[in-house]
């Protein structure tokens, strides 16, 4: 799983990692060997724990279905006291947020699809949580800004200036989620006696996308290119630049759906 590659990031944050499924110990052992998984894979063969958590998926896999017993996939992250601090369950069972995307939501740097640009107003590093993703994966596109000394960019909600805004081009291979902007700060511009919301210093915009992949029967796709425009206007208390824009882009290698299975003899028998 993609999680194995992100294990360091979790360990650096002092977070233990475990993944639970309804598979037998034998299936999990085989899976761990094939995929070189070192973190605990937990076996809940009768879905007792899944039921106790109230996350049994009996909508898609009702009683009698060969896959009855599967959970809605998702993640709980606790603090040191064991209290749940983050809960992440996607709307359908085919989707999940990647581990790298989770770590980015906690402030980690992103290392895929990196591009850097700089002008008089700011330095911008664009990156993505994952270099590759399969259909159903929710990944994060990242824009890390470092404003030039004494410069500020206008934040959403501003009147009379162009607010910072990421506008991604719709792409049939992905679903776009709402971009997340950091909290803005009020900037008081004395000469005009106005107070406006701005971004200053270093800040980050996050844009999640869920990979859909090509439609059934459509030609295979190896790479997803995501393009967009960044709209902005930057000023200091002395100079004010005209409203402007710049192109931004990311690329993501599209992985096929994972269909590799264990040996027939190890496979799970449907639950009654």
């Amino acid at each position: 799983m993609e999680l194995q590659g992100q294990l360091d990031g979790f360990q650096k944050r002092g977070l233990g990692v475990a993944a639970l499924s309804y598979d037998s110990v034998e299936i999990l052992k085989d899976f761990a060997l094939r995929r070189h998984i070192t973190y605990p894979l937990l076996s809940d063969p009768e879905s007792k724990i899944i039921r106790s958590y109230g996350i049994l998926n009996d909508v898609d896999f009702p009683k009698g279905h060969a896959l009855h017993g599967l959970p809605f996939p998702g993640t709980f992250v606790t603090d040191a006291q064991g209290i749940i601090r983050t809960k992440d369950f996607e709307p359908t069972y085919q989707e999940r947020r990647t581990a790298a995307s989770f770590l980015i939501s906690r402030g980690d740097a992103a290392h895929a699809s990196v591009r850097e640009t700089r002008n008089d107003q700011f330095a911008l590093r664009t990156s993505a949580s994952n270099a590759e993703a399969a259909p159903g994966h929710r990944v994060t596109l990242v824009l890390d800004f470092k404003m030039a000394e004494s410069m500020h960019a206008y934040a959403p909600g501003v009147k009379g200036y162009r607010p910072l805004s990421l506008q991604l081009v719709e792409n049939p291979l992905v679903t776009l989620h709402e971009a997340t902007y950091p909290p803005s700060r009020p900037f008081i511009f004395e000469p005009l006696r106005e107070t406006v919301p701005v971004f200053e210093g270093e800040f980050r915009i996050l844009q999640d996308v869920t990979v859909i992949g090509p439609a059934r029967g459509a030609a295979p796709v190896e790479q997803i290119d995501l393009a967009g425009t960044l709209l902005f206007q930057v000023c200091s208390d002395k100079v004010c630049y005209a409203p402007s824009s710049m192109p931004v882009q990311w690329s993501l290698k599209l992985l096929p759906l994972d269909r590799e299975r264990v040996l027939e003899a190890l496979r799970k028998k449907p639950q009654p």
Partner: protein, 66 residues
């Protein structure tokens, strides 16, 4: 025709009953529910033996084989 209507009704019922998975299970601010389970080595694990210094990321995944 009757069958088609029945299927349509069933499909609508299924759509209506689909829960938002975020509303299922323990909520943010609550503790994880304690359990014991065997890991891939056969060792019995519980929440205490799984957590790190700052907490635990517990994933529920579909299956290692499907």
């Amino acid at each position: 025709m009757i069958l088609a209507s029945l299927l349509l009704v069933a499909a609508q019922a299924a759509t209506a009953e689909r829960p938002d998975p975020m509303t299922l299970g323990p909520a943010v601010g609550q503790p994880l529910i304690a359990f014991e389970a065997r890991d891939q080595t056969g060792a019995l694990r519980n929440l205490d033996s799984l957590k790190g210094l700052n907490g635990l990321a517990l994933l529920f995944f579909r299956s290692a084989d499907w």
